[in-house]
Point group: C2
Chain length 378, copies 2
């Protein structure tokens, strides 16, 4: 009865974990939720001033918001204008649109290993074959492996800035090399950049797409991590040749994005998004440091990890093989939600890993959750 792609709709393990993680009393390191304290709450006076949000709007997005996003992108070294901007109903929608544009059964997609789970799921739904490139938590992708995967790829998907889940941030030189390789191969590059603003130890290097000379590209970002995910707003900026197709795909997907959210976020951009981010960074830095301390004290001899310089996650590798799914179930019984690392791979990984989120729990909860985890492991 169903289309064949439905067989590829991945199991609901992650949905189940996240549902369990939201139960009262559970300390959740499983999701990627912003801190409640960090959520942007629009001023009610701003809400009252919104009087042009109720009629149908343009598929591409509100013109002023597109201008503001283009200006932000140019500040990151991406030569573009507002006509290349598409406002999205969250950056998950960008993954859906790019999947529709490029991927059918057998399309070869270069992905990082580990990679962002929900992107892999969408690519798989549309029939992708994966070309995984291992991202070492310290040195990133191996240049030779990257190049040989690129040689047979039809699309490359990268999250070079504070990657989810590994936390890795590609340095400028590596970005230059990758841009040159992508240009040489002529492969479309899809760069996903939702965590850029959450930089704890200095700004990240400029995006890879701004370093390209001729390859087609899509760059996307999100307001979910800096303002409020409930508003479901993201954006993409794309090579001019891709914009008409992406716009029609967007129209077929939901006509246009919520206009109320668009105006709220435009106001936030005009009134100082970056100031808001500057206020929330100390909250995240404190939680990151609390998790680093707790990991050292409770699990220091069992795992290795890098302190993330941005983003929302620790990527923790066990020194010996561990059944992380069994651990996940036992941890849930003990009131702690964790995410097994193999969920982020398209093939069986070499190491037993966990992804641990530090943004949604207080330092005290992080300490308590880590103590419980440690007692399960000993």
């Amino acid at each position: 009865m169903f289309a064949k792609r439905i067989e590829r709709l991945t199991s609901s393990l992650v949905r189940d974990i996240l549902a369990a993680a939201s139960r009262p009393g559970v300390i959740s390191f499983a999701g990627g939720l912003p801190a409640e304290e960090a959520l942007y709450r629009p001023d009610p006076a701003q809400l009252q001033s919104l009087q042009h949000c109720w009629q149908y709007g343009q598929t591409e997005g509100e013109p002023q918001l597109r201008e503001a996003i283009a200006a932000e992108a140019r500040a990151l070294g991406i030569a573009c204008d507002a006509s290349q901007v598409l406002v999205l109903s969250g950056s998950q929608q960008g993954i859906d649109l790019v999947s529709k544009l490029f991927i059918e059964e057998g399309t070869r997609v270069l992905v990082e290993a580990p990679a962002y789970l929900a992107a892999v799921q969408s690519f798989r739904l549309f029939g992708a074959d994966f070309l995984p490139v291992t991202v070492d938590p310290v040195t990133g992708p191996d240049a030779q492996s990257f190049k040989s995967a690129l040689d047979s790829a039809q699309l490359a998907y990268l999250t070079p800035t504070f990657q989810n889940p590994s936390g890795y941030c590609y340095p400028a030189e590596q970005r230059e090399h990758i841009a040159a390789a992508v240009d040489a191969a002529g492969v479309p590059l899809f760069e996903d950049d939702p965590y850029r603003e959450l930089a704890f130890d200095g700004a990240a290097p400029q995006p890879i797409v701004g370093r390209l000379k001729n390859a087609p590209w899509v760059y996307q970002g999100s307001f979910s991590k800096t303002l409020a995910p409930g508003l479901r707003l993201g954006f993409l900026v794309a090579h001019p040749a891709l914009v008409p197709h992406l716009t029609r795909l967007k129209q077929a997907a939901d006509l246009h994005s919520n206009r109320l959210s668009q105006h709220l976020i435009l106001q936030a951009l005009q009134n100082g998004l970056h100031e808001h981010v500057a206020q929330i960074l100390p909250v995240y830095r404190e939680r990151r440091d609390a998790m680093a301390d707790a990991l050292t004290r409770h699990l220091g001899d069992l795992v290795s990890w890098q302190k993330p310089v941005g983003g929302l996650f620790f990527w923790v590798r066990f020194k010996q093989a561990v059944d992380t799914h069994a651990l996940m179930r036992r941890a849930l019984e003990a009131g702690v939600a964790i995410m097994p690392g193999d969920a982020f791979y398209t093939t069986t990984p070499e190491h037993s890993c966990l992804r641990l989120n530090f943004s949604h729990s207080s330092p005290a909860e992080i300490e308590e959750g880590m103590a419980r985890l440690a007692s399960l492991l000993r």
Copy 2:
């Protein structure tokens, strides 16, 4: 470079018309926009009370809103509970999700002829082959044609209530016969019902899906026509066997719908959506009657049409063949936007038709626009 489906992304004729129609000074009969006067504008005090909209939410939608939608569906004779409800980012999203669930290259889809354009475009994008069933503006679909199309269909898509574009409303007896035929064939039925509340001469019969005994079904509705399209909110209710798949597809498409819109619409439902609709119906009825009068006076000898008992459109058939695309271009030059009828067919239609929207123009604009159209045709 692109997936093969991109070749099936239909030309942007309609987008072009709608863009031209929004130019200042153009009288637009082309789109399907609600009257500005009819748009629901939330009370600012309500907006201020919204304090739980900023974090990530559930893919399925806000629990209270799902309960309220299930109650409305039950009142229409659809046996269901809240677990069968999925909140959508506009009902266009439901078309995308149902396309993903059922349609791949060569899937045979029964559609009305004429049919809702944006649904046909989405089905085509995913590779549908169409089985069109002619809907006569007076008698609806022929029972025998419907049955024989159903015999080879893998999905049936119907808009039985104030159909866009024909305006036809299936009577109760016809709905019963169709339900029995769908049950006998075991074909999934996708019933799209965005116009139900816009009933000018009495309520429409209960939906077809509520009359099914065993066939799988998806029923969807929209708040765009009754409240405000800018909030981009619709819903679907589905057979329990389809809900888990549709939920995962929704998650892959945009994680969840805008929470601010969900709470605003929940408040509207609690505070009297039906009272709001009762207030706007006279506006629409007056405009419909104005267009009927203007059609009679200006084009009475050239066209035939039925006065629609609901919805937003007149479906106008020329007595002699007319190049409606040439007419459209000349009309635009004269400051009137119209929609050629062939856009709503999957095959070449027998008659020259136009779809004319009456909701977005004042009675004076309707009179002026129709006079200009008539002068072009004489």
